[in-house]
């Protein structure tokens, strides 16, 4: 049985966000080996996965649901352009609404319910006290544009990629907790363009292989991969838009506060074919855990040390870790008997 969402905690200002022991136990630790290396590392997202895990269902709803939805509301209020959908993506947005509402109501019947009579749908989200009737496919029958409407009810960032000419284009999305990329700037880019700033991988042919794989994903066979970086404080919105507000936090890591302030940030990325539009859903579900909490698991602590220690300099720079990388490695070394 899943833990019900907690009361609202914050991802800014006083940072009251915390993980319960159960949330720590189910944290999707991303490193399969001691040395970090680049790979496409995509695997089938077969559901249901292990009971209670982050991989159990298509969309993971956990104890941070209310907090993350409140945070998303703050970001959108400050800057409504953090959500966009080009006109040709309307059908894809409805594909996403169907996929989300059907799976949420089946996977979490205690929190969500859906009843359908042809195109007349009735949706209830008991956690957010939403109770709406609308006509499927008719965007005017929703209280908000379809991408924003469903995006405000799902944890994690969402992008819908239009597939044309064997390529994928970033033509719709709601991105309020990104690891340093801007939907407004990257809008409309091809797969390789929006990955343009990523070092090393292009030369290794990673994106050619990934693109070939992704464009061929059939309906009903989602795949997933994990990505990661480090974040100072439990800040969800580490976007370029708000960088002037949080950039200075990177200079505040000391040997004394690493455990409390530094967080491992893991993205569970799921790619799922949208049936009617042939678009590809790219959902990026973000999990944050403080180093103190992470190191309650000795295996994770040891491995985290080894991964950071062997991380190539290009990636240290790209992930924005330069200012505190050495401090973090030194602090973690106490958990590694080989150091």
């Amino acid at each position: 049985m899943r833990l019900a969402p907690k009361q609202i905690e914050t991802f800014r200002d006083d940072f009251t966000y915390s993980n319960s022991p159960e949330a720590i136990a189910r944290f999707p630790f991303p490193f399969p080996e001691d040395e970090y290396r680049y790979s496409v590392n995509i695997e089938p997202h077969v559901t249901p996965g292990p009971a209670g895990s982050a991989f159990e269902f298509l969309f993971d709803i956990d104890e941070h649901y209310l907090s993350e939805m409140a945070e998303r509301g703050i970001v959108l209020e400050e800057n409504p352009k953090r959500c966009l959908a080009m006109p040709h993506m309307d059908l894809a947005c409805w594909d996403l609404i169907e996929r989300a509402m059907v799976s949420l109501s089946e996977d979490y019947p205690q929190w969500f319910s859906l009843s359908r009579d042809g195109d007349r749908w009735h949706w209830q989200n008991h956690l957010l006290h939403i109770d709406d009737e609308f006509v499927f496919g008719d965007s005017a029958s929703l209280p908000q544009p379809p991408m924003e409407y469903i995006g405000r009810q799902l944890q994690g960032d969402l992008a819908l990629l239009d597939q044309r000419d064997g390529d994928l284009f970033l033509d719709a999305g709601i991105v309020t907790c990104p690891a340093d990329w801007s939907l407004a700037f990257d809008a409309g880019m091809s797969f390789k363009e929006w990955h343009g700033p990523v070092p090393l991988a292009h030369e290794m042919g990673v994106f050619e292989r990934a693109l070939k794989y992704l464009t061929a994903i059939p309906v009903g066979s989602p795949v997933r991969r994990l990505n990661w970086t480090l974040t100072v404080n439990a800040r969800m919105d580490t976007s370029p838009e708000t960088y002037p507000e949080w950039g200075h936090e990177r200079t505040g890591i000391t040997a004394e506060n690493v455990g409390e302030k530094l967080h491992l940030r893991v993205e569970l990325q799921v790619l799922d074919r949208m049936p009617r539009s042939n678009a590809l859903l790219f959902s990026i579900r973000t999990y944050l855990i403080s180093f103190d909490d992470l190191c309650t698991n000795p295996d994770w602590a040891r491995r985290m040390h080894r991964v950071l220690k062997t991380l190539p300099p290009e990636l240290i720079e790209y992930k924005g870790l330069s200012r505190y990388h050495q401090t973090a490695v030194d602090w973690l070394s106490r958990f590694d008997p080989l150091s």
């Binding site: 700037f185 700033p197 370029p240 002037p244 200075h248």
Partner: protein
């Protein structure tokens, strides 16, 4: 965000090659701003004497023979209207500053022409348009990094990450992590 100008190549930055006239096209159209005029004229003279059209976009009194003027005001709308007379097998040659090249590219693709029909010459200068990720303002004709955003006044690191939709490179505040750091100004490539 990076502390220095990215040391690796960014793949969203377009590659440009020398342009040769497309021998199969039924019609050739040359479009240039003032910076690209010499390039455009040379190419125009080298191309086969099929059906030709040449436009200069901008405010100029003296134009080479064969070039028609489109005033810089709302030139994108004017150009779009002019295009309706051209057939599907038309080749376009665009010369000028980089942002201009992609603005024309946008007008042409919106009119239904395919990227393979649109030949962009290497940019006629190092000036870039820069999209500020903080206020979304686009500052034109930037030739150094860091550069001041004309919208919010922040000092922006200009990166090589390019958007064809915005016809601009991305700019991110350079000293957000430590305001004491003001790196030396460098000329853009």
């Amino acid at each position: 965000m990076n502390d220095a100008v990215a040391s690796y190549t960014v793949k969203s930055r377009p590659d440009y090659h020398e342009v040769a006239p497309d021998q199969t096209a039924q019609c050739h159209v040359f479009i240039t701003d003032s910076a690209g005029l010499a390039q455009s004229e040379a190419l125009c003279q080298a191309s086969p004497v099929a059906k030709k059209q040449a436009w200069h976009i901008g405010d100029s009194d003296t134009l080479p023979a064969g070039y028609e003027a489109i005033q810089s005001g709302d030139w994108q709308a004017v150009l779009g209207e002019q295009l309706s007379g051209f057939g599907i097998a038309t080749a376009f040659y665009v010369s000028g500053l980089e942002a201009f090249l992609w603005q024309v590219h946008g007008v042409l693709t919106k009119a239904g022409f395919a990227p393979s029909q649109i030949h962009l010459e290497p940019p006629a200068g190092n000036q870039r348009d820069v999209f500020c990720t903080h206020c979304y303002h686009i500052t034109p004709d930037v030739s150094t990094t860091p550069a001041r955003c004309a919208g919010c006044g922040r000092l922006l690191l200009v990166r090589d990450h390019f958007s064809r939709l915005h016809c601009a490179y991305v700019g991110v505040q350079i000293n957000a992590e430590d305001p004491a750091e003001v790196p030396p100004t460098e000329e853009l490539s």
